[in-house]
Amino acid sequence: MDLIWEGLRKALELLLRLDPEVLRITWLSLKVSGIATLISVVLGLGLAVLMALNEFPGKRLVIALVNTGMGLPPVVVGLFVTVFLWRNGPLGFLGILYTPAAIILAQAVIATPIIAGLGLAALQHLPPGLRLQILSLGATRPQMVWLLLKEARLPLLAAVMAGFGGVISEVGASIMVGGNLKGSTRVLTTATVMETSRGNFDVAFALSFILLILAFGVNALLTHLQQRGRRS
């Protein structure tokens, strides 16, 4: 028990002292996972809209693949992204392995199917006639897509939260493609793993708390957006 109390005390101290290293790690985590989520929102929602509004051969297979992708193990993504970004790999010329850009790429690969899969479910859950109704009110195709997304905003924001939650908390891919380099690619999760393995439970605790607060803060913001103007 002492270990826990000591850890909590140290964590609080680190937080209150605004330790520069901790702040940098926190900021990087937020930035990397935030950008990765944004990329995934664009790609994932785009994919969801395409799948929801179009009939094409093999649609079921594509949906099945996307849904499988929602459960991609981060270490598998880490492995593939590493191989792709490796010096003589297909994307080796980019030279971004062991940089934050590599983590963003890996996290976007993880979050895109989550947002696409949940986004598709959200759009498919809308009344089937709504699309025709919107068109008959005089909407252009882009206006129609925008209104459909707006109608599905509650479950779509839930999809975004799930995507962000998936990447802010993953460690396998970040450590493999980022390398947990101090001052460069060290994020909250990789730092927590490292400090725990070194026996620095107090620092690990501090980092974990920050991670939880961050996740809570972002989700609280999204929830606020989601529930805004909704009184029952």
Partner: protein, 372 residues
């Protein structure tokens, strides 16, 4: 009606997944008229409606609106900005009543200042004035469908499509809304196409009626014409002629036909209004509301046709009951609850069924000899 043609349909065909669902060689909508599409579920009413509304691209054929053909997606999009549609479900947005009513105007690029007075006006006209700020998901079924109607009328559509807009409402709300819709259509002179699956009151808002079956229009004509002179047994049944009988013409004099029924005892003769040649076989229809029941033959009545028979079935139908009779042939009649008890109608009860010669509609005089 010699008004201009609003929407012209030529050789329209629609396939879905390789299966033909629609085949309409010709259909013209006139300015200012209300056309009802009637038919059972699956008759193709909705498919036709969606094709007419520019929401489905036809597989073959052409639509033109005020003389301009609708060929491309852009043509249909421009057309949709001049028309609109109300569906069976209100399909409101997750927003307030006011935001819902103005949504089409917003999509069509009207400014907030232009939208506000029109939204106010139409909310008032549909009795939604007090509900403008209410979220749509708190509305009752009737209020929601009123909001959908306001959202459509506020656009001042040149052509309004109504796809069974009342069928999911309870009967009282439906009656009220049909009445309101009739008033609004008349006040605004809006041209409309209305789909409905039964010969309900909704169809009575129409000037013309098209009865559909299996993707085709079986008969198109004025409301009374189709109701009273169905050209086809399916149409006859559909517009409420529950009794259809085949008979052979014995004589024809001054438009009065004397017929012998093909079914039942040989002495069952029937008098009808119509034109046919002696010896010809004709199909005749009798509406159940035109059949009167009594306990004995009443010689003083003007009913030329009276047949003794027996009640086979009593079917309660809301405000009245439907009585099925066996008079040597099938006959259906509607009676009030009062008659039901006065005549003590129950299966097996002997009764006399009577109807005037004018209540008998000669439906078809061709093609029956070979079928029999």
């Amino acid at each position: 009606m010699s008004r201009e043609t609003l929407l012209q349909v030529r050789n329209l065909a629609l396939d879905r997944g390789g299966v033909p669902v629609l085949d309409v060689p010709e259909l013209d909508l006139r300015a200012g008229e209300v056309l009802a599409l009637m038919g059972p579920n699956g008759a193709g009413k909705s498919s036709l409606m969606l094709s007419l509304a520019g929401l489905f691209a036809p597989t073959h054929g052409e639509l033109s609106f005020k003389g301009t053909p609708l060929r491309s997606r852009a043509d249909r999009e421009a057309f949709r900005r001049r028309t609109t549609m109300v569906f069976q479900d209100p399909l409101l947005f997750d927003a307030t009543v006011a935001q819902n009513i103005e949504s089409g105007l917003k999509l069509r690029g009207l400014s907030a200042a232009e939208r506000a007075p029109r939204v106010q006006d139409w909310a008032q006209r549909l009795g939604l004035g007090a509900l403008l700020q209410r979220p749509a998901h708190q509305l009752s079924g009737g209020e929601a469908q009123r909001t959908a109607l306001a959202r459509a009328f506020v656009l001042q559509p040149e052509l309004l499509f109504l796809d069974e807009p009342f069928s999911s409402l309870d009967s009282q709300t439906r009656e009220d809304l049909i009445e309101d819709l009739g008033r609004l259509l008349a006040e605004t002179g809006t041209s409309a196409v209305l789909a409905t699956h039964d010969q309900s009151k909704a169809a009575r808002l129409a000037h013309r009626l098209a009865v559909m079956k299996e993707g085709r229009i079986l008969q198109l004509g004025g409301l009374r014409e189709v109701m009273n002179h169905p050209e086809d047994p399916f149409v006859a049944t559909f517009v409420g002629m529950e009794t259809l009988l085949k008979g052979q013409v014995l004589s024809c004099q001054d438009g009065l036909l004397s017929l012998r029924l093909r079914k039942g005892p040989a002495d069952r003769e029937l008098v009808a209004i119509g034109e046919a040649q002696p010896g010809q076989t004709v199909l005749i229809g009798v509406r159940p509301e035109h059949v009167a029941l009594s306990l004995q033959t009443d010689n003083t009545s003007s009913a030329r046709n009276a047949f003794p028979g027996a009640v086979t079935k009593v079917i309660p139908r809301g405000p009245f009951s439907k009585i099925e009779l066996d008079c040597g042939f099938f006959l259906a009649a509607y009676v009030t609850p009062q008659s039901l008890s006065e005549l003590d109608l129950r299966p097996g009860r002997a009764i006399v069924a009577a109807f005037k010669a004018t209540a008998v509609h000669v439906i078809r005089t061709e093609g029956l000899d070979t079928e029999l």
